[in-house]
Symmetry: C2
Subunit: 436 residues, 2 copies
């Protein structure tokens, strides 16, 4: 099925990056055969092919410009099977992440990876970006949930990579190689993923701190407490202020930093007590609950963070991670960068993984970003690397972070990347200009 | 350091496979520079290089014959750092798995992957085979614990692949590609691995069943019970009999199958109650404990299984996995195969992962295996594939399972393997004749 090529929505993602020119064609695939046919056509003509799921990406990975074919998989929405005893599901690439989780919950199971975009992103897009999420602190990322992938290769052939079972070591981990490859090695049309028992009990807490550094110290204390929270989110005072402005709450009055924690499993309450004991010495005030509604209330601040910032201006969303022991340094460093360049930087993130999202907010509008914002972003990347961290923890390299990704990887690793890319895509038609 | 090349111990592993001829040289590396120098020498001469850790492998992966250089990494035993707040450790390849775990425990942490060989195998060997283990049902396999690897490539260069932090998506998952590559893509000299909080509470149970199929049904019931045991092992009556003969226990009198389960975490006891409720309808008798000594008693049957079988004869150790819902069929199928070929087959394994180790025991002695044993093994592989399973869940392909691995992977995937192998090892010097 071909949609009007002028449809700008299908040529962009949520990064704010705008393409140069318009794609020549948008294919909204109805089945795998149409994906294969489109790839064969692109290969024959040497046309760049930009695969997209929901376009919720934040790295410019699905941005398609002049001369490209856009291959939209959002209509491949079939959940082919859920096997509760095996703890697996077979899904097509376009299934919305939350829909898969809901289908699993009907069997007392869950699909663990839960990016903030869970209600709009596709499983295929999650696989392509190796999406993380709120529950990552305990349950890991998309890579940890993927057993096998059905991939259309650059010549249009369809191959299943990975293992059918929970464990398996036959051959190289090629499914793992495709996970996080951002549409540059092949097109994921379906996957077999792991489901886990949905937790029987969940405890949720919020804790406020006088400073962001105090909150970072609490994260370190939790890390050595013996507890393993499923969720451990951090929000800074500026972000709390933005949420207050957007939703009429009074969060910032309670502190300059907020931690949100969730423990789950049969001992959720006991584990939460350990978390709170670790937090208590530095927190100004904390509370916790096993009530689902109150828990949703506590967590709603986190879900509202990005929308609240989008009301203020145009957010440039970064995505660094540092070793947890360097979180406080990273946070102070980001504050210095904001001061140095005179740009507002809001900070929230998945603290349990050392993953911070510094958000630089600039004047609303289209076009190039102001030079100060770009320089502040560069300084944030440099800071992450200097602290032994990474320039992208979960959003991916896309079109926005290529230069810094190469700096992080180093020449030797980049050479291996180039050669592996050539193995999978000798003509270079799969999402050129994006990824590592 | 060069050891005498006649040292047969350093040319074999625990698979029973015997090399043809003796290696020309055994290098017991004292540092990374010596690894690099050895690889450069092998590359210059085009000599096959067989890397080994402890030689505890069961797939013939470290078996070195005529004309090969053996590169032994067992002396690279330094634990370079443990960072409790980050939850990471940096270790050299030759560190014994149990030593890493013990070092982590001193900080209230654990190294989760725990193959039955934990007391003898090396972390480098575990990485090369993507070793599983008893706790795999909850904590996954070695792949899940590896953040980055320091790899000496086939040209002697040293490169770090992977991410420094718990999460990270910069570039392709090349560390994950090296994990499980069985020494065919590069030589792992060190790694950064993840540590997790050691569980505060542990509950251990044993349950006996009248038939192995009943035990398999209990595994399925546990899978949908909402519990997620850390350990879920199965042993058949024949294996129980062998353990009784070796250690004077009376296990087999209690049933024709034994399940061993362990739950851990803050709600270990509550979770165990759920496991036992799932087991109760089919079990003839069960017990559980939170006492560490009694727990070790219960689990000791599992640890004694292989040694007990080794007293009876020469064990040919298989390693299939099937979807958990097909466990009962796999077990009945194995029994039919034993009858058909008139060979004794003992069955135990990591039931929580659908991973069975059918052990064909033949007359003691060296030399070729009897034809009946080989044909029974082939039928076991075919059975695994026909049930939607894999021919190797955790031991690896090595030199023993190449033909079946290729059948499982299929032509298209094998072609990708060949090309990736060429990227890393264009001269084909790294462990030729072994892996996928
Ligand atoms: C409000 C909000 C919150 C977010 N929170 C998180 C979060 O917590 N964690 C996180 O990791 N991300 C988060 N994201 C980012 C984004 O949602 C994820 O990257 C998500 O995985 C993208 O899925 P998608 O279907 O929208 O993919 P798209 O944006 O359409 O594509 C993303 C990339 O994957 C490629 N691609 C997509 N589908 C396929 C396919 N089937 N085969 C091959 N390549 C493909 C594209 O070419 C592109 O490079 C958030 C985004 C928003 C807007
Ligand atoms: C009693 C017993 C119980 C076992 N239980 C389990 C179990 O529960 N789960 C499980 O998965 N396995 C198990 N095994 C198998 C074995 O212990 C594992 O495969 C282990 O990971 C091998 O480690 P090793 O150091 O002995 O490696 P080796 O046997 O020396 O080598 C194994 C393979 O890895 C390669 N290799 C070794 N080190 C490196 C390196 N540093 N860089 C690159 N390549 C390398 C070798 O070339 C070879 O192909 C068991 C074995 C025994 C004897």
């Amino acid at each position: 099925m071909t949609a009007p090529a002028t449809e700008i929505d299908r040529a962009i993602d949520r990064s704010g990056l705008r393409p140069v020119g318009a794609p020549t064609e948008v294919v909204v695939a109805r089945d795998v055969a149409e994906v294969q046919e489109t790839v064969r056509r692109a290969a024959a003509a040497g046309t760049p092919l930009i695969t997209r799921g929901a376009g919720s990406g934040l790295a410019g990975g699905a941005v398609a410009g002049e001369g490209a074919i856009v291959l939209d998989l959002s209509r491949l929405t079939r959940i082919r099977a859920i096997d509760p005893v095996d703890g697996t599901a077979e899904v097509e690439a376009g299934v919305i992440t939350a829909d898969l989780d809901a289908a699993a919950r009907a069997h007392g199971l869950m699909y663990a990876p839960d990016p903030g975009s869970v209600g709009i992103s596709t499983v295929g897009g999650n696989i392509a970006t190796n999406a993380g999420g709120l529950r990552g602190a305990k349950y890991g990322v998309t890579r940890d949930a993927v057993l096998s992938v059905d991939v259309v290769l650059a010549d249009g052939s369809l191959v299943r990579l990975g293992r059918p079972t929970i464990k398996g070591v036959t051959g190289y981990d090629l499914a793992g190689l495709v996970v996080g490859s951002e549409g540059t090695l092949g097109i994921v049309v379906a996957a077999r993923v792991r489901l886990l028992p949905a937790p029987q009990r969940v405890a949720t807490a919020s804790a406020f701190f006088a400073t962001l550094e105090d909150a970072a110290r609490a994260v370190a204390a939790i890390a050595v407490s013996g507890a393993r929270p499923a969720v451990l989110e951090i929000l800074d005072g500026a972000t709390l202020g933005a949420i207050d402005a957007a939703s009429g709450t009074a969060l910032r009055a309670q502190g300059e930093a907020l931690l949100l924690a969730q423990t789950d499993g049969f001992g959720a309450a006991e584990e939460m007590a350990v978390v709170l004991a670790a937090v208590a010495p530095t927190a100004t005030h904390h509370e916790w609950t096993e009530d689902a509604e109150r828990a949703a209330d506590l967590l709603s601040a986190r879900r509202q963070a990005l929308p609240a910032l989008e009301r203020i201006g145009r957010p440039l969303i970064e995505d660094i991670a540092v070793p947890r022991s360097r979180l406080a340094e990273a946070i102070s460093g980001i504050r210095l960068i904001a001061d140095r360049h005179g740009v507002p930087i809001f900070v929230f993130g998945h603290a349990g993984d050392g993953n911070l999202h510094p958000i630089i907010v600039v004047e609303p509008g289209e076009g190039d970003l102001p030079e100060t914002a770009v320089r502040a972003a560069d300084d944030i990347f440099a800071l992450a690397l200097s602290l032994g961290g990474t320039v992208t923890a979960e959003h991916g390299v896309g079109r926005l972070k290529r230069e810094w990704a190469r700096r992080e990887l180093g020449e030797d690793a980049v050479r291996l990347h180039d050669e592996i890319k050539r193995v999978f895509d000798p003509l270079g038609i799969l999402n050129p200009g994006s990824g590592y």
